[in-house]
């Protein structure tokens, strides 16, 4: 029997951080190798900031819940996850983090704050394997949808615009192939992760307004991406500008603006409460 004064929160938070670092280790290492340490660090180590921020939020929630003493099965789970992380696969690391999050989420005896952290952790962990699988299995219809909508946008301003699946044919014959990384679904998955993380962290339950904000993000983020794709389909100069030039940063800023505005709108007037306080109230801590 393992006896320890450690809390479940500490053990699970440390294990989750290890799981996250394992999941992002390879892409980060590759980014550093490609760009150099300083440049990679300045560009956020090749990681989407929403992913990192959501995970940090989850950890904060876990650590800010009323501490509970660790039991043997918690330690066994943490150890099993740590051993499982030796499997040299980022997907497996995400799944291990998901398993840890599920253990938090399914244990109804744990403080609400910690379970909220578990829910966010689950969303962070499952985003990559799920979106990867969905984009692989439904690449054709998803990318063709992007191609069709972008071509419709372009055809409202220019003649002789066409599309074939995920290939947009611009007015001067310029062709743009929409690859998986440029799909609206990929951008949307990050925006919805941010929406879920913030809403779950600050609200005890999802109100109608929160759902409307989520629906708004689900519409506006793809619309913005379709406008960008349409513009890139116009000519080679526009492609470079919006794909790897200044336009790309305007597009990303637009995504952030839409997502943040709608998240704030959705959560602003809701019956916000800090679950950490609720936990402390219930447990009688100061």
């Amino acid at each position: 029997m393992i006896r320890s004064d450690l809390s479940i929160q500490t053990i699970f938070a440390v294990t989750a951080v290890i799981g996250f670092l394992n999941a992002v280790a390879r892409p980060v290492a590759v980014t550093i190798e490609k760009e150099g340490a300083l440049s990679a660090l300045l560009s956020g180590l090749g990681m989407n900031p929403i992913l990192a921020a959501s995970f940090v939020l989850a950890i904060i929630l876990v650590l800010h819940s009323a501490p509970r003493p660790v039991r043997q099965h918690h330690f066994v789970l943490a150890l099993a996850v740590s051993v499982g992380l030796f499997i040299p696969s980022a997907t497996v690391a995400w799944l291990m983090l998901g398993a840890l999050a599920a253990a938090i989420l399914l244990d109804k005896s744990l403080p609400e704050n910690m379970r909220a952290g578990g829910a966010i952790m689950m969303a962070v962990a499952m985003r990559d394997p799920l979106s990867r699988a969905l984009l692989d299995l439904f690449a054709e219809p998803l990318l063709a949808f992007d191609g069709r909508v972008a071509a419709i946008w372009l055809s409202t301003f220019y003649d002789q615009v066409g599309h074939r699946g995920n290939l947009i044919i611009g007015p001067d014959g310029h062709r743009l192939l929409i690859l998986t990384g440029c799909s609206s679904f990929a951008n949307l998955s990050y925006s919805l992760l941010a929406w879920f993380a913030v809403s779950r962290a600050f609200l005890s339950s999802f109100t109608r307004r929160v759902w409307i904000a989520g629906a708004g993000i689900s519409v506006l983020v793809p619309v913005l991406n379709h406008l960008r794709l349409a513009r890139m389909g116009l000519d080679a100069e526009a492609y470079v500008f919006f794909h790897s030039g200044e336009g790309r940063y305007w597009f990303e800023a637009g995504i952030v603006l839409i997502t943040c505005t709608l998240i704030l709108w959705g959560t602003r007037h809701a019956n916000a409460q800090c679950p950490a306080d609720a936990d402390h109230r219930h447990s009688g801590a100061a």
Partner: protein, 170 residues
Amino acid sequence: MRMRNVLPMLTIVILALLSISLKVTTARMPDTNGAFENHRAIDIVLGQAGFVPVGWHRLTNADAYIARVYHDIRVNFHCAGEVFVAAMPRNAEGVVLVEALAEQGQGDVFYLLNGEVRDVFPTLSAFMERVRTAFGNILGRARTTIHFAIASTHPCQDLRTVPWKQLEDA
């Protein structure tokens, strides 16, 4: 901090350092070059049918999809047609490119998954194959998914009858 607190944490932290180090040291730069590595196997199989490689053709301005080009040069035979072989490493995103190639040249397009000829891109089979490959690699049993799109323009022989199964042995 008491020993009973230190020991469990120390165990997890040591495991963490080892597992992260393992991932960092085995990290490889992704192969962004669409010019697939195992083109020699294709060269051999197509060579038996009288095709010779003549170079590479970029299907996009980036290096995402690059097809290997072959000409039919059987003895005492002239064929103006070309054969394009492109690796499909991810999913069906590049299908439209090879289909457009074949259509321009009134040719044929088909897909190869581990040497088997498919009329349409085998999305589910390819996905399952990638999952199996990933598991195989985790278990140390190196597997390679042989997954290509073949497009021909003005073909002079039926490319589907080429013994593609030999790719698995090559």
